[in-house]
């Protein structure tokens, strides 16, 4: 079963597509069969970043039933072992994907035979974005060291986290338990996981353990992108600390990625930044992030419970 990594960030322009593409290329070069999927449905860009300016097929071919399976929309890229599903030339109304279609896409994604599947998500906290986070326990959040991006990333992390808790309650038919908990202690809401868990444990220790296991299984990760020299390099670790202290959520900091003006050049040439400027701090940082990511998923166990997509 593939490890699915949704990559999201609250703010546009924070480098989600750049990171998805670069991490995808690096993963493929490490020898993993990797698939990147552009699910930034209204504003797909990823194909340009990984060097496929004119993809023949895209996700909308599957949604509009021009091809029968999702596998048929997969195209190869200049990098061996790296494959992609493009979002280019989607129909203009695809940004507002119907729920059933989304579920269909998600179900097909989890069945794809790859080592890693990276989902390049759009900005914001719309349901389109949040639902793609529900597909796996993992999640990579991208921010820049600016108040605007940080504000949005907190919103996104909260939205994803609370939605995941709600889903966990639903899949185990804990809604009654959650309601009971809230009656006993009005503070014990989904938005206050710490308290909710404590009250649920009190009411029903066994199911409390199940819920605690669910909460622990989330493997969220943070990357601070476009880190300039004058920025505080510890900002990512500080964000993780705030989240773990106040949301009771473990989130790993994968690293800073240095800002580089030449990313712009690489995108304009529709070439890979990693190949055009291989000896820059930025590429070094990307490799470091990847190393941390692999280390992280190796130690965290491979219990990727992607099967739960069926219970949407």
């Amino acid at each position: 079963m593939a490890i699915i990594l949704p990559i999201g960030g609250g703010k546009g322009g924070s480098g989600k597509s750049f990171l998805s593409g670069s991490l995808g290329v690096l993963l493929a070069r490490e020898g993993f069969r990797t698939l990147v999927i552009d699910v930034d449905l209204g504003a797909a860009n990823l194909h340009t970043i990984i060097g496929v300016p004119h993809p023949r097929l895209s996700l909308s071919d599957f949604i509009n039933k021009r091809v029968s399976t999702l596998t048929d929309t997969i195209i190869s890229t200049p990098t061996p072992l790296l494959f992609m599903i493009s979002g280019a030339m989607n129909n203009l109304d695809i940004a507002n994907l119907a729920h059933e279609q989304k579920i269909k896409v998600l179900r097909h994604i989890v069945k794809l035979p790859y080592d890693y599947i990276l989902l390049d998500l759009g900005a914001g906290t719309s349901f389109n974005t949040l639902d793609f986070f529900m597909i796996s326990d993992h999640g990579i959040f991208v921010t820049t060291p600016e108040p605007t991006a940080i504000e949005n990333i907190y919103r996104l992390i909260r939205s994803v986290y609370f939605r995941k808790i709600r889903k966990a309650l639903d899949t185990h038919h804990f809604q009654n338990l959650a309601r009971e908990a809230e009656e006993r202690d009005p503070m014990a809401k989904v938005t206050n996981p710490d308290r909710l868990l404590a009250v649920v444990r009190e009411l029903d220790p066994e199911r409390g353990e199940v819920l605690a296991g669910e909460l622990r299984s989330f493997q969220f990760k943070l990357i601070v992108n476009q880190n300039r020299k004058q920025d505080n390099p510890h900002i990512g670790a500080m964000i993780c600390k705030i989240i773990s202290r106040h949301l009771d959520l473990k989130i790993d900091f994968l690293g800073n990625v240095a800002f580089d003006d030449r990313v712009h050049n690489a995108v304009c040439k529709t070439g890979l930044f990693i190949d055009l400027y291989p000896f820059t701090q930025t590429v070094h940082d990307l490799r470091q992030c990847l190393r941390n990511l692999l280390l992280n998923s190796a130690t965290a166990g491979k219990c990727d419970r992607t099967g739960s997509v069926n219970e949407f």
């Binding site: 906290t125 909260r158 609370f162 709600r166 809401k189 989904v190 938005t191 600390k241 705030i242």
Partner: protein, 258 residues
Amino acid sequence: MNSEQRINKMINFRGHSLYEILEVSADASPYEIRRAYQDIYDLYAHESLASYSFFHEEERQELLADLEKAYLVLIDEGSRRNYDQRLIAQGLLNEEMCYRDRVREPVPLYPFTRENLARGRKQHRPPPIDDAGEDTTYMNAIEPDSPPADETAMVAPVAGSTPNPVRICDLQQKEAVSGLDLQNCRLQAGVDLKEIAIRSKIKMSMLEAMEGDRYDLLPPLAYLKGFLRIYAQIIHCDPEKIINGYIKQMQSVQGGSP
């Protein structure tokens, strides 16, 4: 799904001990506490980028107030001891886990254990300081023939692992300390006057004057206190006792005038 979008009502620090708030262990030194407070303050400060938009303004005020309270309680020796006592009474803290200011405890001089005695003494040096250093890490760090160690090394703390520290002379009963008493203590400790002169950088003549009760040759009180403190530290006596006792003796001899 409105509640999902709404910023949740914050979990505050309630239910956490002050140590947990500052993320320090119960035996953290004041220095560590100050550092921890600075680090955590950076997270919650108004201008902090890391927690930008994470808290409402009231929440932030409340958290900062809690943080400051935790710091003020723990940084003050007296209030920290009271707080520790409360935790111990509630069974949340073990007595041994509390912080003790070990720097001020007298250093054990003769660890009379079999192995130390069996090991024998080195010939070329007066033994006490060297041997006392057997259980102390810092003493071993001083090279035998190095120039006089600086003052900080001499007052460095000792791990409180040795039970029953043997003290050379018990000054508990003595109210006043004369030069002769000093000399006796020093001889019991087996420390040569010359060694004190080298380590403390105090002139030989001054040390002799101190031991000989030649009050007319002694420097002003402030300097004298400093000299006595270093002297006491080298012979491993309680500096406060020696300073107070010596000055008392001096004043009684001089008839009350300093």
